[in-house]
């Protein structure tokens, strides 16, 4: 059996481990921080799986690679929400909606009545929007826990130390900057709030020229609000400005959010390469898998498949820009 050690138990590392396990390889996983938790950026993610929405700012490749993500996650036991994504803008920011429509596909333009049919609590608030049907999001922590449980059931535990053996798969995210100098951090900040007074049933993206917001319902009146995008590798705590801006945007979406309890503030830095697309790099006995940027849960399954194809069949996948075994 091929001997593989994966470094890093974030979304990238665990997806590669799961993909290898599904193909009969039992990798070791080493992460000094142990199981997934607040130390890793996949802990703070929105978990959106609506690839067509991403085309507003992402390369078409992201859409192509992300189309199967929801099915992959469902097969792993992650709960997938199929309620779709509603993209809206306040009346003075309608130009943002036009731009979003121009740059994306597979949506249905909806008017005020259709918006209310989808989300009754937005009555009288929004004139028009874009509705992206079907798959929408997962809950990252539940998904990571599911992966971890599946792996544990197959006898694969997360070790916190020890010496790697066999082929090393480096999936350490931004920590791998020591080996990947063109990797950079893109800081993101998020909040989790509880607001049983507000009932929104699907992911809502509120466009704004400076402060775009998404609100993802997590059930039981809990919403995740995110996320900022700053060219910075700082993992320091959420700034007052980011919190104020995101909460103001949420309040503009639905005034009921004013009464929300703030459960959590989170910040981390996403690992990204200059074109914001992922990379696989083979250097000697190490395979690097990194650069998921803001598309961790959307792209990790496809990148994990490519990594497994490389490890098992020696294939050179499309995102491998270095191959020196």
């Amino acid at each position: 059996m091929t001997d593989v050690t994966i470094l890093g138990a974030g979304v990238m590392g665990l997806c590669i481990a799961s993909e290898l396990a599904a193909r009969g390889i039992r990798p070791r996983i080493i992460d000094p921080n142990g199981a997934p938790g607040p130390h890793g950026c996949s802990w703070w993610a929105g978990g959106m799986l609506a690839p067509y929405c991403e085309e507003e700012s992402a390369d078409p490749t992201v859409v192509r690679l992300g189309l199967d993500a929801a099915d992959w996650w469902a097969a792993q036991g992650a709960t997938i929400h199929h309620s779709g994504t509603l993209v809206l803008a306040l009346s003075r920011d309608q130009a943002e909606l036009d731009r979003f429509a121009r740059l994306t596909r597979e949506y249905r333009a909806v008017d005020a009545d259709q918006i209310v049919a989808l989300e009754p609590e937005l009555q009288g608030r929004m004139r028009r929007g874009l509705f992206y049907e079907s798959r929408s999001h997962l809950t990252p922590r539940q998904a990571l826990t599911a992966l971890q449980a599946n792996l544990a059931a197959g006898g694969i535990a997360i070790e916190t130390g020890g010496t790697p053996t066999g082929l090393v798969v480096d999936a350490r995210g931004l920590t791998a900057r020591d080996a990947l100098p063109d990797l950079r951090g893109v800081r993101g900040e998020m909040l989790t709030i509880r607001c049983p007074e507000v009932t929104l049933t699907r992911t809502i993206r509120l466009l704004h020229p400076r402060i775009p917001l998404y609100a993802v319902p997590r059930g039981d009146g809990v919403y995740m609000l995110g996320a900022t995008m700053l060219e910075s590798g700082a993992k320091s705590r959420v700034t007052a400005r980011a919190a104020v801006e995101m909460l103001s945007a949420a309040y503009a979406l639905h005034p009921g959010f004013a009464e929300a309890e703030i459960l959590e503030l989170g910040a981390d830095a996403r690992p990204a390469f200059p074109d914001n697309l992922p990379r696989l790099r083979r250097r000697g006995g190490t395979l690097y898998a990194n650069g998921l940027y803001r598309h961790g849960y959307l792209l990790a399954p496809a990148v994990a498949r490519m990594a497994a194809d490389h490890i098992i069949n020696g294939q050179i996948p499309e995102f491998m820009d270095e191959h020196n075994p």
């Binding site: 950079r184 700053l230 060219e231 320091s236 074109d275």
Partner: protein
């Protein structure tokens, strides 16, 4: 080509570095535009943005740091000092925002901040309105470049007040003038150059276009066209037709 604070700049296009789909697209847009200057915001990225800032340095263009997002004299002055230390340049694009919605300059705070920074050795590029007296005060404060807006930042509306911009050009024939903000289309950039402006600074129009690289090239071509047109001494507009074919000697029919 423009000369700012004694430094020759290779192109009259100044390009901002925010809001691109990726740093790779940003770099391609810069190459397509031949922009001579890149404006960079320091405020929010702070010292942890080294990776991004080294990408900007790799563009090989002159860096003009800005104080984007500052709402007071104190914030702007502090940010300018951080930028000078970080980018090792006395140049600063001074932005003091007066209104959160329109992002229009707070001209009173701007003049004060310009005075403080100039006295401290900075070479200030003030983002201002096209108001003649405000511009006069900025020159008194030590600014040797003026950057009036075309329209509010990111609005893409073009030159809202061509009369005011023309009048500013006429009043300060020897001061380098840059239209900063509000450009949406290449024709807007060309118009600014036709008015005799020395340069155009834009960001959103390129960064948020469907194809930023193609739009960067379009802006470069428009700016070159506008500049050539200015030098070529355009004709005056007139109310009556002036036939381009002589009427004398036409065949008499019938």
């Amino acid at each position: 080509m423009p000369v700012f604070y004694g430094r020759d700049i290779a192109s009259p296009l100044m390009l901002g570095t925010a809001q691109y789909p990726s740093p790779a697209v940003l770099a391609q847009a810069f190459r397509a535009s031949n922009a001579g200057i890149a404006t960079v915001s320091l405020r929010r990225e702070g010292g942890e943005g080294q990776a991004f800032h080294s990408l900007i340095r790799d563009l090989g263009v002159t860096v003009l740091p800005n104080t984007a997002g500052c709402h007071s004299v104190k914030e702007a002055v502090t940010t300018a000092h951080m930028a000078r230390e970080f980018f090792d340049t006395p140049w600063i694009k001074l932005e003091v925002i007066g209104d959160h919605d329109t992002l229009q300059p707070d001209v009173v705070a701007l003049i004060e901040a310009a005075r403080i920074l100039t006295a401290d050795g900075f070479q200030v590029f003030p983002y201002c309105t096209e108001d003649l007296s405000v511009c006069g005060h900025l020159l008194d404060a030590g600014c040797r470049v003026l950057m009036p807006w075309g329209a509010p930042i990111g609005s893409g509306r073009g030159l809202n007040n061509p009369y005011g911009l023309r009048s500013l050009r006429a009043h300060f024939p020897d001061v380098p003038l840059v239209v900063d903000a509000g450009i949406g289309l290449p024709s807007h950039a060309a118009q600014a150059m036709e008015l005799g402006y020395d340069a155009v600074l834009l960001n959103t129009a390129v960064a948020r276009a469907g194809d930023p690289v193609a739009m960067a090239r379009a802006m470069a071509l428009a700016i070159e066209a506008g500049q050539l047109a200015r030098k070529a001494e355009p004709i005056e507009a007139r109310d009556m037709a002036a036939p381009s074919t002589p009427l004398m000697g036409m065949a008499v029919l019938g």
